[in-house]
């Protein structure tokens, strides 16, 4: 019970542009024969689903996912090939189908249950459980038209969940409904899986497929393209849809939009931090349990220095005094550009995964060595602070300010002399490259990469017919991150920009969108290679941690 065997399955739909009528069929010449086009929804699909398997079907819109489900459900008849399904099939109905708006929720349970093959007696027995699962006790006797779409989905899911099925088919089932109910559905599906039921689900939500399925297939234009583990398939699907006409595909557009929103929020927070530091620059806050007694910038020879060159090594050394024992603390440094207090870079021991041991009363020294210092021409302000780590752990918001022991706001300064021909906040190691680069993303409007990935900029679609002159990378909020005068395409070896939405402008051409994926804990706009070293009073004398980019 519960296995599915599909052999050479094909389905052709006749696509008619006009209403089919008897008159047209009888007198094709008179009516100018209807243009009947056929569309292959599925082509030669072979698929075996063993009992107890949870299979995810992914693919772009129109790939034949729903057709495949309908064929398994027996709703559609295949054009060729065979469908063998063993056991009772239940479908979580798409929103609205199988429900009637004028009937009450209770009557719809009976109607929908009967459609799923349940007897009236069986439904009556399970009615309380169904209503309880859907959490619609209060409105079960109201007409369905008064229900929100989320309520309808809850009812539909509850009915399907209570029918005796061997195989459950789910088509984009968690698109509505609140988080709590989604959790409930997920728990239910996990339980059904554990009971050895066969699940087949179509979803655009990769996380769902990865969480619930033990196998997934990718459908592309009606063919089974990939049959592998859920993770591999969803990765491949995402990559594929991003690579190819990302902007045309609904699902990846939605995914991109979500990423854009997330990135926008991050940039807003960055700006807010910068503004707040500008207002309070030069002041000092904190309980004083740990006191920062002095901050200095050291060059590669460990000599105090206030002017650096782009690419130098720069060590921020902070000496401190511990006035009483501190169980949990973290030390952080933030760099702002003096001109506009743009948040350039910020990191702390906790974000870098470094746990500072309990601090005993005494004196210590913490060093943050940044190398290379990929900042461009300008004056920079630095904040340094000891925070109570416990108060940070409790908060979800990475920008929430914890209670400081000692917070020196924008109190220290250094200068950077940058190379000629480059402007902006940060320097991105690059080279001018005339040779064609395979990874040139010229065909897409939106490029999504990770911090530290290479990027090719300024290559024309038809080769480099017109060499680029000025390449600029501008953050969504207008912050000019990096500009360079170029003689041709620019190959950036490491795009050290932190997660945000950027625009890549080449001369006066249409800007290209660049999304740097979220997932970095550092603050600011550029990621700087750095390492920590700590001499602190306490049982452990010294502690070192390197963090290469």
């Amino acid at each position: 019970m519960g296995d599915i065997r599909l052999r050479g399955l094909s389905k052709v739909f006749a696509v008619s542009h006009e209403k089919p009528t008897l008159l047209r069929e009888l007198m094709p010449r008179l009516m100018r024969s209807a243009r009947l086009e056929s569309r292959w929804a599925l082509r030669d699909v072979d698929l075996d689903v063993a009992p107890g398997t949870s299979l995810g079907i992914v693919g772009p819109n129109g790939a034949g996912k729903t057709t495949l489900l309908s064929l398994i459900a027996g709703v559609l008849k295949p054009t060729s090939g065979t469908v063998h399904v063993d056991g009772r099939v239940a479908t979580v109905l798409a929103l609205g189908s199988g429900f009637h708006p004028e009937l009450t929720g209770r009557q719809n349970v009976f109607l929908n249950g009967a459609i799923l093959g349940m007897s009236t007696r069986e439904i009556r027995r399970k009615l309380d459980a169904i209503v309880a699962f859907s959490e619609l006790e209060a409105s079960i006797d109201a007409p369905l038209r008064t229900y929100s779409s989320g309520m309808q989905l809850r009812l539909g899911f509850a009915i399907a969940a209570h029918s005796d099925f061997d195989i459950l088919l789910l088509d984009e089932f968690l698109t509505v409904g609140d988080v709590a109910f989604q959790e409930k559905c997920l728990r239910y599906l996990e339980a059904a899986r554990a009971q050895g039921k066969t699940l087949v689900m179509v979803s655009q939500v990769s996380a769902l497929i990865e969480q619930l399925c033990d196998r997934a297939v990718l459908l592309v234009e009606g063919r089974l393209a990939v049959d592998a583990s859920p993770h591999e398939v969803t990765d491949l699907y995402l990559q594929r849809s991003l690579d190819r006409h990302a902007q045309r595909d609904d699902a990846s557009v939605r995914e991109l939009d979500m990423m854009r929103q997330q990135l926008s929020r991050r940039v807003m927070s960055e700006r807010f931090c910068g503004e707040s530091v500008r207002r309070r620059a030069g002041t000092r806050e904190g309980t004083g349990a740990i006191e920062i007694s002095g901050v200095e910038f050291l060059d590669s020879a460990d000599q105090p220095q206030s002017v650096f060159q782009t690419g130098d090594r720069c060590t921020v050394r902070a000496r401190f005094i511990v006035r009483r024992a501190i169980p949990q603390a973290r030390f952080g440094v933030a760099i702002f550009r003096e001109a506009d207090f743009a948040y350039v870079y910020g990191t702390n021991t906790m974000a870098d995964g470094l746990t500072i041991p309990e601090l005993a009363v005494g004196m210590g020294e913490v060093r943050l060595t940044i190398e290379p210092l990929w900042l461009l021409d300008g004056a920079y302000r630095v904040s340094a602070a000891w925070w109570d780590a416990a108060s940070v752990v409790a908060s979800d918001d990475p920008y929430a300010e914890a209670s400081p022991y000692d917070y020196h706001i924008g109190a220290y300064a250094f200068q950077v002399i940058g190379p000629p021909g480059a402007a902006g906040v940060c320097y991105l190691p690059h080279q001018f490259d005339a040779a064609d680069a395979g990874e040139a993303p010229s065909a897409t409007l939106c490029v999504v990469i990770n911090t530290g990935d290479p990027l090719m900029i300024g290559q024309d679609r038809a080769g480099s017919s017109r060499p680029a002159r000025c390449v600029r990378i501008i953050r969504e909020d207008g912050l000019e991150c990096f500009s360079v005068l170029a003689r041709g395409p620019v190959r950036i070896m490491q795009l050290n920009l932190l997660p945000a939405r950027y625009w890549v402008c080449v001369d006066d051409r249409r800007p290209q969108e660049l999304l740097v994926r979220p997932g970095r804990l550092e603050h600011g706009c550029v990621s700087l290679g750095h390492r920590w070293s700590l001499h602190c009073p306490g049982p452990q004398e010294a502690l070192m941690e390197a963090r290469p980019l």
Binding site: A14, G74, S97, G98, L103, A114, L116, S119
Partner: protein, 269 residues
């Protein structure tokens, strides 16, 4: 036969689909029964006033208006079922595309919902017959059979038209014409005996209309006699009605079954 067994397996679904049809028509259940009574009551009362007070039609010992309402209610049941049933499958798109069950249940539920109304109308008719203080017909035991035949015949026609409508969207216009013509080709406002003077060929063609024998059967069961001896005794009326209804049902069902597998490809929604 196996197909009919499927109906039985899904009887609960048929029941709930029928309930749905009835509920949708009358928003509240109490008002629904009231309306179902009110409509035939008004129609009967109107016909009663017309044919007894305004234009009294002489017709033996039976009141003419009883004769008419016994023709008009079976006809209305048939006509309403056919006109709503024809588009029922096409309009049940979402259901057909998402779920697997015998699709014949959809038109069948429409017929059943109309049948429910017809039964209520029949109660009204029986009431009028009782008021008219006619002797109870000795054929009255055939009434359930007549109702069953009416259901079978209507279902057969609806299967046929609904099955074709999915693929050919102009069927419903043909159905409208057919119902219009059928009304005059059925002895509702005139006694069947009047066709006696027509040429034999036309007469037999006329009698092929299954509604003729069905209406005659209803009249025989409640009024005790057939109008005119064209179809002979009540037994032969019953035989004709049964044969024609069964034939229509089988043909309709076969046509529907042949088309059923393609419904999901063609329906709306």
């Amino acid at each position: 036969m196996r197909y009919l067994a499927e109906f039985f397996r899904y009887r609960d679904l048929l029941f709930w689909l029928t309930i749905k049809e009835i509920r949708v028509r009358y928003k509240s259940p109490l008002l629904g029964v009231l309306w179902a009574f009110l409509v035939p009551l008004c129609l009967s009362a109107t016909l009663w006033i017309i044919f007894t007070r305004i234009i009294p039609v002489p017709m033996g010992k039976q009141p003419f208006f009883l004769f008419v309402i016994l023709g008009i209610f079976p006809w209305n049941f048939f006509a309403q079922s056919v006109s709503t049933g024809t588009t029922s499958v096409l309009e049940a798109g979402a259901l057909i595309k998402k779920t697997a069950f015998p699709k014949a249940l959809i038109p069948l539920s429409v017929v059943a919902a109309n049948f429910f109304n017809f039964l209520i109308a029949l109660v009204v008719v029986i009431g009028f017959v009782a008021i008219s203080s006619l002797a109870v017909s000795r054929w009255v035991w055939l009434l359930p059979v007549a109702c069953l035949l009416g259901f079978v015949l209507t279902a057969g026609v609806v299967f046929f038209t609904a099955g074709l409508q999915v693929r050919y969207r102009d069927i419903k216009y043909l159905v409208e014409i057919g119902l219009l013509v059928g009304f005059y080709l059925t002895p509702i406002f005139y006694p069947l005996g009047l066709i006696a003077k027509a040429p034999p060929l036309l007469q037999s063609l006329y009698l092929l209309n299954p509604l003729v024998s069905l209406v005659e059967l209803f009249r025989a069961t409640l009024l005790g006699s057939t109008s005119g001896g064209i179809l002979g005794s009540v037994w032969s009326v019953l035989g004709t009605a049964t044969a024609l209804s069964a034939a229509v049902f089988v043909v309709g069902l076969l046509v529907f079954r042949r088309r059923e597998s393609g419904f999901a490809d063609w329906v709306l929604g």
